[in-house]
Amino acid sequence: MIEKFTQSKLDRCISCGYCLPACPTYQLTGAEESSPRGRITLMRAVQEGRLPIVDLLPEAGFCLGCRACEPVCPAGVEYGTLLEEMRDMAWQGKNRPLIIRGLFIAVQSKIGMWALGFLSPTAKNRKANPELNLMLGCFERRLFPSVSRTVAKLDTNISVCKEQSCCGALHAHNGELEKGRQMAQKLGEELTGTIITTAGGCAAHLSDVIGRDRVREFSQWWSQNEGKLEKIKKSGRTLRIGLQDSCHLRNGLGVFKEPREILKQLGDYVEVPDAGGCCGAAGSYSLLQRKNSRKVISKKIQDIKELNLDYLVTLNPGCTRQLVSQLRRARVKTKVIHLAELIDLSL
């Protein structure tokens, strides 16, 4: 557990409010305390001893951690890091949500990871280029095993080793900052060379710890290494394809042009309004804050419905899960698919 916020990171914020329009929770409530600027004010109050850390529990939970407040901040405030610090301090002992405790247990032990991958038809072990390794993710291998299978199929140069641990993003984002960093280090040692990941959230965390040069999110890697693609036809017409950005991929790593470029090759690309805005999955948020998570996504679901898309492409398993379930709930026919799988359809 850390004791204090990094003072220099708190000092960066000049309370200009440029981040307010970008923040989904502020847009929902209009309340200063649920804005990035307001939350930083609260962190300062804790730092200066004016508020006890437990007072920050409601906002530590309400904030999506989407980091939409970062790229719009001219002062360069690293809000994502500050939030991790806030949760590290606030979510200790009994204040850590039960669900988070359960998830931690699942991903930090060998047995847990084995159970997640067990019987799951992910990519199979394969020794190919030792300097190019596929990361399987912890929940992705359980929930969407076809994604890793597809990536392995798309490029046979990629090595796959099923015995790999979790990158620790879950820990880092949910109050175990140090542990989360250690886990990323460990994964960085297990997998050599460049690590390819199909999860934007993992890509951002892993890059943060082991360096950007060692990590490639799938769309990034594809656009740097693979050739042109053909348009996908469905009964003679090209597909209408939209995208939901992965928050950490976009706001943390600045990757958002790459997937769009690829999708333009595959069909009629339609920009979903606020495609860069959080879908409300936000890691464990959709489990911890069900109601708010639904409020955050509700407009997006309407927009997607009106656009009449064939496919909505995602870059992160959490977003896939959220969009599948919320589109189904609203009876929208659009299919949700990971970018790798859509590429596969075109070949």
């Binding site: 960066r12 004010t41 409601p58 001219p74």
Partner: protein
Amino acid sequence: MKLDSASLVSQLESLLGKDLVRSDATALESYSHDATPIFQGLPEVIVAPKTTADVVKIVNFARQTSTPIIARGAGSNLCAATVPLSGGIVMSMANMKKILEVSKSEMLAVVQPGVTNLDLDQLVEKDGMRFIPDPGSRSVSTIGGNVATSAGGLRGLKYGTTKNYILGLEAVLGTGELIRTGGRLVKDVAGYDVTRLLVGSEGTLAVFTEITVALAPRPSTSKYGVAYFDDLSCAAIAVEKIISHGIMPSTLEFLDNTCITAVEEFAHLGLDTGAGALLLFGDDGEGESVSLTVNKMAEIVKESAGGRGVSLAQDVAAAEALLYARRCSLPALARLGSLSILEDIAVPRPKMAHVVTAIEGIGAKHNLRIGTFGHAGDGNLHPTIVVDKDNAAEVKRAELALSEIFHLAIAAGGTITGEHGVGSAKLPYLQELLGETNMQLQRSIKHVFDPDNILNPNRLGS
């Protein structure tokens, strides 16, 4: 009768319903600041009215209980106008953000005060219109806040500022009475111009609940260019030249080297970080005339002393990027230190070259880093002192420098605030600028509108 905080909260809850009242420690703390550094003060309760009737109720309640009320838009003001230094109620206008009407035939819109400036402008864009006032904070700040500070922006020279675009107001006075001033008319001289008096009143005379703004046609063409200079005074001289050629363009903004470097670090636009100053010039309008004006400006600045090259933005996106870069100068400067103190002096344009040089001198004398940017066409300068907040000696030197900058402005026939307002930050300097008779008049005006001194007390009119 004055109430303790707990009774204040419970009575407001029964008056308005629990949903509109917040008093937990985090809510109070988060409203203890605005965008002004250093100033801080805790409110006792936050209310967020939904209707004009709610506002009337709150003001009447505050009057009966002698409780201060601070109306708050987005809290982006830079003069500590919304910091609750006297405790009391912060009234957030965030729940009143409807655009009630847009009339193309009358070129006006009727809005609630909590609408953000950019939201209004984007909505009316569909009908080929625009809302002229465009403060750097336009994506954040509210129309209510803009009216209460008479906000300026990047188009002041040619088009004026907020005060030129407010047709009518619905407002609740400190007495709890609801008034309507002005309206939809282009002309109306029946009575004193109370609308104009309320514009810029910083929440001390009345709370706006509905605002009728004048819109303008959206020009079909706009063009921008950038020129670099050896220093800010050369850029100021170039601005003088442009205007003395009879050109009145929409935009003439400048940044010094410190600002250019900070902005470039954030926005990556390929600005020349080796130059001493950057001048952003541009105009908008119809057809060929825009190009003619902008090309003429380019010619003039090219010839001007200390010039280091001119280029024109190739497309709208490039121009927008430049404007954005200019707008975010202040927060970008925050990268340089842990405390940025920004000023807002305005001086007659012919004095500007002298004043910017003198500011550099003040910075050198006190060994301070001062980044200056501003609305050059308006003679409105924002010297920003960036210091380490834990270095007491440096903070002290900054205070000295600020006072010197104010006196420099006043001596040049200028003012201590061109557009950000007085708030608490400039109040100590107001008397010196206005003199006793004018100050007394201000107090008398305040007393008529707010006899119990509940609206944003201890600020303007106090």
